[in-house]
């Protein structure tokens, strides 16, 4: 699932290890999510959204909604 995790993390000046530590997951999990190689569970997605204080849908893009219908 495409996401803005890397962008938000860098905006905060955090390393992958620091973000992993902050939300209590492994660094490999952050790396996999940033590389779009692992889709997080809902609780983990909400946890990340809460950490960055953004709505979950602005962090993880819904793959079942096209950008056109989203704009409408």
């Amino acid at each position: 699932m495409r996401n803005r995790l890397r962008e938000l993390r860098r905006d905060r000046g955090l390393s992958q290890a620091e973000l992993a530590e902050a939300i209590e997951v492994s660094r490999q999990t952050i790396i996999a999510m940033e590389a779009d190689k692992y889709d997080p569970s809902l609780p983990m997605a909400y946890r990340l959204a809460a950490f960055f204080a953004v709505p979950v849908e602005s962090l993880f893009f819904n793959p079942f909604v096209s950008p056109v219908s989203e704009a409408e």
């Binding site: 992993a20 530590e21 209590e24 997951v25 492994s26 490999q28 999990t29 997080p40 569970s41 983990m44």
Partner: protein, 134 residues
Amino acid sequence: MAGQTYRGRMRIALMLGTAAVIVAGVVSSRVVRASAPGENFWLVYPVLLAICALAFAALLPWWRKLDDMQKTGHLSSHYWGGMAGGLAVMLALVAATGRHSDLSLGALYTVLGQAVGFLAFLALWHLRRGDPAA
């Protein structure tokens, strides 16, 4: 301190779990050697099961600390890798020693035990997630 970070707590939980498994292996071996094979079965077997249960319990804190990607990795590897590895060894034993050798039968019973355990856990998993209104 290492135990104050998530990584540190994971490391400690894994070390304690691993140590418990090693201790369980050593103690189990002593229990088995304490009597002749088959002798005192109804005493030795429950004791071995209890030791196993304690080793599992010691690994629970580590398991609960894993995030969902790590858990998925372990479950998937255990299911596919564990089954494939076990079956490959069983087939090698059957090919090398024949269908009815003690080694082949031992391997077969282990695989059967795994299958029964798998089905029991799967049934429990479905029951716990069943729709109460259904």
